[in-house]
């Protein structure tokens, strides 16, 4: 009896200890530590793995969701950043970092309204930083609220004179306003402050394309591609240069590559309308119309698409369609000109860039290839893993 009792007791004891062993051997070491240590763990996939486990054990810890969102952000998994930062915001509504992460990810995911809403909440709460203004400016540029974009960019630069995206945003708004010289300066500054940002290179390429310095434009795009080979906008600007250099076949290829990499509507509409132009020059009018029509699906106010489609319809004697497209192009141009006039007036007041009417006429065709905004994706901010 006594022997049996001891055996049962031993069995229970062994079972309990082995159960604890099973549980403990699978427990990450950091689990008993402070969550503040998580910050250093937010750089790699292994941290995501750890945070997966951590969140299973602590499903109401908003810091864990935020930390995982940051880890996903490093590797540019935007949809997952949105999911985790939303979760974090549900648990802690006023968390600035989560809001910023979500706003930026929405912007990367081409969800302008959602991004703008988050940036507005962030900035209206009085806790907005220079980068928040800069990205809100970029979202505004994308949604063609050029005046808001310009003012946000100006605030961003004022708030932090070392913020590269702020200079890029200001450069982009200056480019839309026609102040190419200032835009070029700001793009250069953005590159100097953070040489791994690809989009300032693309902005410079746009300016060089406009100034008919096509070789330099291509060089700039290649520099940008060195830091982010997946940048569709850079390929599109290479195509724009190639169209102007009358290398239409290469331009078509570059546009196709841009389309295969593009993850923003602006990039897609830009690449499609440029390809439409190249097709038009190759006398492939149906293809040009098809591309321009697709471009207008992505951006209903794409000037170049209307212009190319109008020219292609002309060639095919589709008089009514050509007239409609020309009318639409005229409306967009007027809107652009009114904004550029406003900007150039303020520039003249400031004594900065002055663009003559002759120059504008001269650059007309090149300008028309560049009136689209580049996809303002500040990609590839990923740091190298350990």
């Amino acid at each position: 009896m006594k022997q049996g009792l001891i055996t049962v007791f031993e069995v229970v004891l062994i079972a309990a200890v082995v159960c604890c062993n099973c549980w403990l051997i699978q427990t990450p070491l950091i689990d008993g530590w402070s969550m503040s240590l998580l910050d250093k763990y937010c750089q790699t996939i292994s941290d995501i793995a750890f945070l997966d486990r951590y969140i299973k054990l602590h499903p109401t810890d908003w810091r864990a969701y935020r930390a995982r969102a940051q880890a996903y952000w490093v590797d540019s998994y935007w949809d997952r950043v949105v999911a985790d930062s939303t979760q974090a915001l549900e648990l802690k509504k006023d968390d600035v970092v989560s809001r910023r992460l979500r706003a930026y990810s929405y912007y990367q995911l081409d969800k302008d309204d959602a991004s703008l809403s988050d940036y507005n909440i962030l900035i209206n709460s009085g806790r907005g930083e220079a980068q928040d203004y800069a990205y809100r400016s970029l979202v505004n540029s994308q949604t063609k609220r050029f005046e808001s974009a310009a003012s946000d960019a100006a605030i961003a630069v004022k708030k932090d004179s070392l913020c590269a995206p702020a200079y890029y945003a200001r450069g982009l708004s200056e480019f839309h306003g026609g102040s190419d010289k200032d835009a070029l300066n700001d793009a250069k500054l953005a590159c100097q402050l953070d040489y791994e940002l690809p989009m300032p290179y693309v902005l410079m390429a746009m300016i060089f394309n406009k100034k008919q310095k096509f070789d330099r434009a291509i060089l700039m795009c290649e520099a940008g591609l060195q830091y982010d080979p997946t940048n569709g906008a850079a390929h599109w600007q290479i195509a724009a240069a190639q169209v102007n250099l009358k290398d239409y076949d290469k331009a078509i290829d570059s546009c196709t590559v841009a389309l295969s990499l593009a993850d923003h509507r602006a990039e897609k509409s830009g690449a499609l309308s440029t390809r439409a132009l190249a097709q038009f020059h190759r006398s492939r009018n149906e293809e040009a119309i098809a591309d321009a029509t697709k471009a207008l699906i992505f951006d209903p106010e794409c000037l170049l698409a209307y212009e190319v489609r109008a020219m292609s319809h002309d060639r095919l004697n589709h008089t009514n369609e050509a007239a409609q497209d020309r009318e639409a192009a005229k409306r967009i141009k007027e809107r652009m000109t009114s904004f550029q006039n406003k900007t150039s007036k303020s520039d003249q007041n400031n004594g900065t860039a002055v663009i003559t009417k002759e120059q504008r006429e001269h650059n007309k065709i090149h300008e028309s290839t560049n009136t689209l905004r580049p996809a303002p994706s500040i990609k590839d901010q990923r740091s190298h893993r350990k």
Partner: protein
């Protein structure tokens, strides 16, 4: 005979000769085994993770079952034997309409169970062993099962399977060398264990280092006068014969000459293209795909301690040699992937378990000594007198419990659960799932995104290109950097690209995803390389760009081409003359 290697004066007291003592580990291990294996089954079947490498083998095995030929319809830098070995789970999955992840997990769980049961059967032969080693059997087996719990992310890797197949052989060889000649181990078990271990070794011949070094270590023990007779055992014969049979069988693999004539020379030159850290970095075990070793410093300390205490227990010495051999296997591969360290970490973890047993024994002996008020350490509890058998069983249980309690606070320092340091992020799954349907052909051209294999296996999509992962183009880029290999690289590159183009034209995949980013910060990308070699005009003519997805360029087959190609096929079938070349 054990006595010669034991330092204690009263050696007879430390030798176990009781005929029924093998029952001890069996009785003691019933509860731990049920708990650990149950926990392992719950963990693995609830997550159903198929490791990226295993997913790749299963994908290729699936292609074999479809009648495709290795090295023509799919190419890898590994010898194709592993794909044939992966056929049974795929066949079972297809035959019984069970998801492949479930079948695969159950297969590996079956291997764990089989290894454990074989080990127990081997341990039945324990007749005469040192007291320390005898007490260590329970913790050793328990530690072996516990080790499987941390392999979640690498569950079923070749290294894991090797460890499972090697463990019974290890115990068998330990018993053979530490027992008198004539130790009775069932010949069938011995042959089975030898063959299973040989197959695991044949998949990765580096594993042979481990049994060879162990044999060398055991042969140095002052055991038998006719020590070479220990080599004339069924498991040794079956291991050698199976290895030879595998070698002969591999020569019958279709197109194997292509592997030896084309890929072996090419891969041996270009393997440096992939993450090749220096050995010092590798010794930190900070692998890019997760870590399974806990504290490197602690591991070093344990190994040093084991070396000095190896005279105390044969198991300590043997496991120390296992760890060193595992380390050699890990370093020899020169990549530092964490799964490659599985044999080393397993050896080390088992070594730690035996070390803890030594500490547990020491503590218990001290407690007994204090309680009995004896000045000299030789309590009756430790006697080998058969009349004291029940007491010895009690002490064994006590040692096991003390070991298990001591392991609790330090287990996370010894090893790390791989699922807490590595994960799979589904980067293309949503894209593939939304744009294609089951059994559609897709091509994912990448140089090192193993998640793509998992996606294709999970979503049941057919690979449409022989290069399921496009290792050769990264190698040609690497070879171009050296003057001696540049010519070869320039010769191979267009050939590889033309094969990709041919495959795409032939298989007409619904979706093509091409890796567009740089792994190492250089300006070389697979997409750029393929563009330079004319893929846009070669095989993407019938495709339209969809856009970027997690740094992959995505192309979808044009709807018009889908219907027209179907129409052409129909016309071709009906009347070949209707279509002019």
């Amino acid at each position: 005979m054990t006595n010669r290697i034991l330092p204690e004066q009263d050696q007879s007291a430390l030798v176990v000769e009781a005929g029924d003592d093998w029952k001890y580990p069996l009785q003691l291990l019933v509860v731990p085994a049920i708990i650990i294996i149950g926990h392992l089954a719950y963990m693995s079947l609830s997550s159903l993770v198929v490791n990226y490498d295993c997913a790749y083998y299963l994908l290729c095995a699936k292609m074999l079952l479809q009648g495709k030929q290795p090295l023509i319809d799919f190419v890898d830098l590994l010898p194709p034997i592993i794909f044939y070995l992966s056929v049974p789970p795929v066949w079972l999955s297809q035959a019984f309409q069970v998801p492949i992840a479930t079948v695969w997990t159950m297969t590996v769980l079956g291997a764990v169970l089989l290894s454990f049961l074989l080990s127990l059967l081997v341990l039945r032969s324990t007749k005469e062993t040192s007291h320390q080693d005898w007490l260590a059997i329970g913790p050793l087996m328990s530690g072996f099962l516990l080790f499987n719990l941390i392999l979640g992310f690498h569950f079923g890797q070749r290294e894991h399977i090797f460890v499972l197949m090697f463990f019974p052989i290890f115990l068998m060889r330990w018993l053979r060398w530490t027992h008198p000649i004539g130790l009775t181990i069932n010949n069938f078990f011995a042959i089975f264990c030898g063959s299973a271990c040989a197959i695991a070794i044949f998949v990765k011949p580096q594993f042979l280092i481990l049994p060879l070094l162990l044999e060398l270590y055991f042969s140095q023990l002052p055991r038998h006068q006719k020590r070479w007779q220990v080599l004339k055992t069924p498991e040794c014969f079956s291991l050698v014969i199976t290895l030879l049979l595998c070698l002969v069988a591999s020569s019958f693999i279709p197109n194997i000459q292509i592997y030896y004539s084309r890929w072996v020379p090419f891969v041996s030159l270009g393997y440096g293209a992939f993450f090749a850290p220096d050995p010092l970095f590798m010794l930190f075990f900070a692998a890019p795909d997760g870590e399974i070793l806990g504290s490197t410093f602690l591991a070093l300390m344990v190994c040093i301690a084991a070396y000095f205490f190896s005279q105390r227990s044969v198991l300590l010495g043997a496991l120390f040699v296992w760890t060193i051999a595992g380390l050699l296997i890990y370093l020899l591969q020169g990549r530092g992937w964490s799964y490659q360290s599985i044999p080393a970490v397993c050896g080390y973890f088992l070594l730690c378990n035996v070390m803890i047993v030594q500490i547990a024994q020491f503590l218990i002996s001290r407690i007994v000594q204090l309680r009995s008020g004896l000045s000299r350490f030789n309590p009756p509890l430790w006697s080998s007198d058969p009349r004291q058998e029940s007491k010895r069983s009690q002490i064994a249980t006590l040692v096991f419990l003390t070991y298990a309690v001591l392991l609790l606070p330090i287990s996370t320092l010894l090893v790390s659960d791989s699922t807490a340091t590595a994960t799979t992020i589904q980067i293309l799954d949503d894209m593939i799932a939304s744009r294609t349907k089951a059994r559609d052909t897709v091509v994912v051209l990448h140089t090192l995104i193993p998640n793509a294999h998992q996606a294709q296996l999970r979503l049941d999509r057919q690979p449409g290109c022989r290069y399921i992962w496009c290792f050769p183009l990264r190698m040609t880029e690497y070879l171009k950097k050296s003057n001696t290999t540049k010519e070869r690289a320039l010769r191979e590159e267009p050939r590889i690209v033309s094969e990709i183009i041919q495959d795409i034209q032939k298989s007409k995949p619904e979706l093509i995803a091409i890796e567009a980013f740089s792994h190492d910060g250089s300006d070389w990308t697979l997409y750029k390389s393929l563009q330079q070699n004319g893929i846009l005009k070669g095989s993407l003519r019938d495709y339209e760009p969809v856009g970027g997805c997690n740094k992959f360029a995505i192309w979808k087959r044009q709807a018009s081409k889908r219907s027209s190609s179907f129409g052409i096929q129909q016309l071709n079938k009906s009347d070949p003359r209707t279509i002019k070349p």
